[in-house]
Symmetry: C2
Subunit: 592 residues, 2 copies
């Protein structure tokens, strides 16, 4: 196995440094959900390439800890003679270390890759934690990809709706109010928002990997590779002090004496804490104030989202009209359309849109049982046929210069059995229950999550993922802090927040169903809010058991479809227009 | 004003002890919701007798802090020339002290009346906190009521469903699992459950005010006034070591060396922490394990609840039949029935029940605008007439030897206007939405709360209280830990939990509506639970806008009313039986 050699090399490196072991998390210095290949040390050392995990390499043992989603994948990707696979949450690594290692073992960790709460947990392990700052795996990782140097470009004020100077002044005010001198920024999407820039270090995540310090007078020091800044206007570069990313920690330490640094305990590397404390500064652990400022979109951003969804909706309709026409023909011809062919065609339709830049995440194009795997991405070896007797699920979106889109439709091209229709109807009813809700301003996501689940609960069913997440403005597809899920989310929802609503149902080996609209929170009656759909895509009603639908549900669908038709009919291709009219025809007339 | 003299007396006492001030919370050593007059130091010193509050008495100022419910009442009851009224939550006392008192001021507090988190907050105030253990107000409180000496009686195993020995063994096992040596019990309802006893120190709260220590071998030391034990069988007294309540802290200190004490940080007096730490022991801060054991009722307890609700339901029906007959007659005669007369009559009906002991809380008997005050209790000066053009709200319950009941009905005896009918219909729809829910086992209360609110939210309305609370088994009316409310409640709901479901709507000066059933959580489809009503009382449908009701809602009501009729018709008086049949007639036939 290829990883035996990396493991052996790391062990001799540890031995040479008098270390008993090393922790290798699946993390970069920004706690990115999607990180650059340069940062994927966990895959290098173990072969496991999932989106969450942690290895503990010891002289005579190696552990890989992954969560429930990845127990199967880890065993497929990893040499199990070399690695014991453990559960990331059921047996946290610090408890395993406490129970299995003699006290005082010298265990290395990279403090740029670990946040404070993780470090504090590790301190209870009884091990001697040794911070290593020199990126030791670099010595042994001969095939390491280069660090990304994606060009950074400006986000014009006309699209962001607020100048960077104004945003910096707001952050400075927040720091002053909190009695803090500096805000240490390590989240690249917050830096992107603050400086009105977008990056290209990571595909589909248009953030500039970098760090920043904001002083309580609004001055910004930006720790970014200057090679990335070639496309930026000089006034943008001159509004900040550009520094080397490698100097970030040194600068924190240098500035720290007698100063107070605001650090986000959920995201900031513990290395920043070490630097500030070594320099004689204080830390205020608190959520980065930009996270909330960024989530409360301004009217210009909202206009951008709406416009991007009109474009994206037209591309969807062109795609769905093509798909609906082709699936039965190609199936009859014995040459059915496949998942990969469908997603390529869909991308081509999106690429016809003026402001489309790239996909906002890897498309989930999943037929039949493949759709039961929530995080499925089609590949040549799994590429299934799209046929008329099974559901086809498509979850995809685009990065547009004025917004980020994310939507899911589950499609039926023929006759489905009663069980599939019942499941589809329950998912749709949950979607409608939540999306049609009026709720008090300030309500939190976990208070509303169950509305989307109730029709499934009535059948004794449920889904094992969240119901909705925040979405960035030409930024990250999963944007903090808002989320609707069973798990508590303490952030009040107010007008201007952008979320998805996406209940689903999955039956392993059989089918997967999800219906997802992106919505904005809008003001309603005094003190109340509601959701307004940004997504403009017909919802397939051919698999719905109409007798189970209430008058209010039908009315919502008819009104939505009328809106979709009015917005999109001028934009879709003439080939697609008849399909759009059919797909958005009112149910009332269909039932009458 | 009468309180001027108490205040002056306290100030000279503080002066004599070289203290700059003293904190006086509305609390007893058990953090009781309803406490004995003996413990109401806050009312003695301030005149304020609400159920939550705190005074800070300084040499030249006195503050009374109360929450939003009590801002008006406090200004009515307190001499505002002597006391400044502040908000208990908006400006916590430790922040006020930090901002308004010079550092180092010597502020007294009674550590038996304060829990650990309160104490830790106070430590950030910069004041010098002086623990006083000798009940200093006793010196100046000449009219102080005697400490309660309510007799304690046994709860037979046939009613509790589990012997005290078995419960002690379960607690011992839990302590061993946690690596703790002792559990310090300061919650009297947990002691009542553990020892299978009930007390009578406080009206309507059948708990024995006392303390206990449980060792990890199951041995119990019970710190209780032996005068309360006269009615107990000798084997109950001999199963435990009875000690003086005054010796509780000394004993904790004496046992502490090298031992670990499990303390509930939300409830245990900080005095216990001081005693354990002084004695050289460790503290494990953790929820008292009995709280959850007690909430998961056994089948015998559940049978008892069901039986007590049949009795209580019959008493309700006898009362409601009488009321429905009398209200129009007495109104026509110019001598309407009043709130106080109604609640007296209702008590008389309850007293006819075999196992009825006392009320389980002060009855809320509220007509018209009085019902808009959620915590209203009628008094001669507010005693309103019950008339046919206004709602009448009754929230009451009984302590039965085999269960505790709590229910609310809002009644209409004539013709109400459209707004009142709309509000009543919305409250009823919220009630039905929640009570008819199927949900995954382990769901938490805050995940379900919004179902009861949604029909009100649709009208831009809401209610400012929780949706449901746990209820004890012939124990406290508000039993921890389960609660359905907007606020997060981390305790999973499982079969055997007992809760109320009680949405409402209140329009100040006009009307108040609440519909409340007590329910048990029961198993349903695999992995799912539902609610089964314990309460057996017809729900008034005369104020319902039937066209707004769904078929499912009507079906639930019809099925419920049929069940009520079958259970109660053999038990109600012959006078009441025709009313019962009318009140439980199916809507379907009424609409047909």
């Amino acid at each position: 196995m290829q990883h035996t050699s990396s493991l052996a090399a790391l062990r001799s490196l540890l031995n040479a440094r008098d270390l008993d072991g090393m922790l290798i998390p699946r993390a970069d210095a920004h706690q990115s959900e999607y990180s650059a290949p340069f940062d994927d040390k966990l895959a290098f050392i173990s072969g496991f390439d999932g989106s969450a995990g942690l290895a503990l390499i010891l002289a005579d043992r190696a552990l890989l800890l992954v969560d429930g989603r990845y127990q199967v994948q880890a065993r497929q990707q990893v040499n199990v003679d070399e690695f014991e696979i453990h559960h990331l949450h059921d047996e946290p690594v610090h408890l395993w270390m406490r129970d299995n290692l003699p006290a005082g073992k010298r265990i290395a960790f990279e403090p740029m890759l670990m946040v404070n709460s993780q470090y504090e947990n590790l301190r209870t392990s009884g091990c001697d934690l040794v911070a290593v700052n020199d990126d030791p795996l670099n010595e042994i990782w001969s095939t390491r990809p280069a660090a990304p140097q994606g060009a950074i470009r400006q986000m014009p004020d006309a699209i962001s709706g607020e100048s960077s100077a104004s945003k910096c002044a707001r952050v400075a005010h927040a720091l002053t109010q909190e009695g803090a001198d500096y805000l240490a920024l390590t989240l690249p999407d917050n830096i992107a928002w603050l400086l009105n820039v977008r990056g290209s270090d990571i595909a589909m995540s248009p953030v500039p990997l970098s760090f920043a310090l904001v002083k309580n007078d609004g001055a910004v020091e930006w720790f970014v590779d200057s090679a990335k800044l070639q496309q930026l206007d000089s006034e943008v570069r001159e509004a900040v002090t550009v520094q080397n990313p490698e100097d970030f920690l040194t600068r924190c330490q240098q500035l720290a004496a007698g100063k107070s640094f605001l650090l986000d305990g959920d995201n900031a590397p513990v290395a920043v804490r070490f630097a500030v404390e070594t320099g004689g500064g204080d830390i205020k652990w608190q959520a980065d104030p930009i996270t909330l400022m960024k989530a409360n979109k301004n009217e210009t951003e909202l206009e951008g989202y709406r416009a991007s969804h009109v474009q994206d909706g037209a591309a969807w309709v062109n795609f769905l009209a093509w798909l609906s026409h082709e699936v039965p023909l190609r199936e009859a011809a014995g040459n059915p359309i496949t998942e990969l062919e469908a997603q390529e065609k869909q991308l081509a339709f999106r690429q016809e849109c003026d402001n489309f830049l790239e996909q906002s995440f890897g498309t989930i194009s999943a037929a039949a049982g493949n759709a039961a795997m929530c995080h499925y991405h089609s590949a040549p070896e799994t590429n299934a046929a799209i046929t008329s007797n099974e559901f086809y699920l498509n979850d995809s979106g685009g990065q547009y210069f004025n917004g980020t889109t994310d939507a899911t439709r589950t499609l039926n091209f023929g006759q489905l059995d009663g069980q599939r229709r019942l499941h589809y109807t329950a998912v749709l009813k949950g979607f409608l229950s939540l999306i049609s809700l009026q709720f008090p301003e300030g309500t939190q996501g976990h208070q509303l999550d169950a509305f989307a689940r109730r029709p499934l609960w009535e059948l004794g069913l449920d889904y094992d993922h969240g119901t909705g997440h925040g979405v960035g403005h030409y930024l990250l597809i999963h944007e903090n802090p808002h989320r609707m899920a069973k798990k508590v989310n303490p952030w009040p929802m107010v007008p201007g927040n952008i979320l998805t609503i996406e209940p689903g149902y999955y039956l392993a080996g059989s089918h997967g169903i999800r219906i997802e609209n992106q919505v904005e929170v809008v003001a309603s009656q005094a003190g109340f809010c509601k959701f307004a759909s940004l997504t403009l895509i017909p919802i397939d009603l051919s698999a719905v058991e109409l007798p189970l639908m209430s008058e209010q549900e039908i009315a919502w669908l008819d009104e939505y479809h009328q809106h979709v038709r009015e917005k999109l009919s001028p934009l879709v291709s003439s080939d697609a227009r008849p399909w759009l009219f059919e797909a958005t025809a009112p149910v009332r007339t269909q039932r009458a």
